[in-house]
Subunit: 300 residues, 2 copies
């Protein structure tokens, strides 16, 4: 086997490494909870070599990374590229780190976007995932999660603009630390309560900090059972997100890029909103890293 | 001195007691952090007598309470009155608790409101405060706080409808437990950053979970200094609240009922929104309790 690239998805919580062959196929995959937040005193080189030192020794191949590793809190800041941004532009703007033994790590830049709403926005890692997904011109795409990203794709896969929604973080904060969680019973799926929440969030997204309170009053009034309340709140927040993201222009189809459970949740919510949904392959990140490395002529 | 009523503002965190004379003037005030959440195993009688046992013994007067003490987690549930609700209706629907020694405590009912947005809403304690403030017909009123309440007042001080906004709780969760707090330096007032946040929140309230992310990107991009970010986020959240609360009908004037610091914050935000502002007296609660007790013929 001939390895030609080590592709690193290095985020806040995890470091995921893949060893790729000369045609971009995954030969081996490893991961560790050694995300940016877990690395102490800037010991990024040690963390990296602990995971893939043997790969480097054996194959002596280049490394490419995307994600929060390129942030101010990461190994080295990889300056943001402004939107619209293409894969070619990213490949020409990689940040280079020389490693012991003559090895080289390159970091894909994150993107920034000056929204017409006056809100500057940023992403790190998702741009590579979007390029890897091979989205057609005119696509509208959502990457659900702690900070859900909505992206609009132009010609040649160029990322025209994007917006972040703090849906996942709000759900976590409200249920784990807030008063809404007190009436909830966790661990049960309730698709009906979820869809009811989506309908409410879509209709009343313009009073978001009011409408989330419905996840308390529905409990107090007994209109939704304690075990349905987590999905009700989740639905309200996803509804607020979809209505907000589509308020300047309603897409016919939205492509959902994410893990299976979250993608199914968004599929259901988009259905309530009357928007068609397409699911993208889950591991677009590696494909995107492979394409950037190719375009940057990192591969031998 | 002749005392005629013990008025209790008994909330989640605190128990505040006032001894009133025959014309409703405060003879003496006491408080303790013995709110509903601090009382263990339902020992409400003990908590009450520890604070005002000597008043009862000396004056043998009736007691009236409003606030969370009438909730399901409180001493005894005082069923919600539906809106529109008048002070007279509340006075006719008091919940009675017999205390040792022949003393009687009455609890003012909370209110519920079926919003035309499909969100049921509730309040406990604020209704008494609103009645005590003596608001003219047609008033629109805000009580800022963890769960800010917006109320619309009809003839004779009747509360027509109201809405809760989780502004204070969201600010607390996002800054204390969320990622937004990481870039912030707390303890500095920045009225300019606050007003910039209000403008953004007012304009983009329909994408609330996106626009709060601006409190992160403004920090990342250096457009707002770390010490200005707390007030910037506060402004965004208050802007979202004002725009949401007034989206079905814009009041000419809003009356703000609350402590001085919060009231000043709302005064500034309403000015940015182009809405006139009136400040109501801070201790309307005692006045409201006095009026309910009078109307219920509790006084001797």
């Amino acid at each position: 086997m001939t390895a030609s690239l080590i592709a690193l998805d290095w985020g806040t919580s995890n470091l995921r490494a893949k060893l790729l062959d000369a045609s971009g196929r995954v030969l081996e995959a490893r991961s560790t909870p050694g995300g940016v937040m877990a690395v102490r005193d800037g010991r990024f080189a040690e963390a990296l070599l602990a995971l893939v030192g043997d790969w480097l020794q054996q194959h002596n191949c280049p490394l490419i990374a995307s994600g929060m590793i390129g942030s101010r809190q990461g190994w080295r800041e990889a300056p943001y590229l402004p939107c619209p941004a293409s894969l070619d532009q990213a490949a020409a703007a990689l940040t280079r780190i020389d490693l012991p033994g003559g090895h080289v790590l390159t970091i894909v830049p994150g993107l920034r976007c000056e929204g017409d709403d006056g809100v500057a926005d940023v992403m790190r890692g998702e741009e590579t995932q979007l390029w890897g997904a091979g989205l057609p011109t005119g696509s509208c795409c959502v990457l659900p999660g702690t900070h859900a990203k909505w992206a609009w794709v132009g010609e040649g896969g160029r990322i025209e603009s994007f917006q972040t929604f703090m849906t996942g973080e709000l759900y976590g904060l409200l249920t784990q630390h807030g008063i809404l969680g007190r009436l909830m019973e966790f661990g049960h799926a309730d698709p009906q309560a979820f869809r009811a929440g989506v309908r409410l969030g879509l209709a009343e997204h313009a009073s978001a900090s009011h409408v989330i309170f419905a996840a308390r009053t529905a409990g107090l009034m007994g209109t939704i059972a304690p075990r349905g309340l987590p999905d009700y709140l989740s639905g309200i927040l996803v509804g607020i997100e979809i209505a907000g993201a589509t308020k300047r222009g309603r897409p016919q189809t939205v492509t959902v890029l994410g893990d299976e459970a979250l993608a199914a949740r968004y599929e259901s919510a988009l259905q309530v909103a009357g928007i068609a949904c397409r699911l993208a392959p889950e591991d677009a990140t590696t494909q995107g890293q492979w394409l950037v490395a190719q375009r940057a002529r990192l591969l031998r």
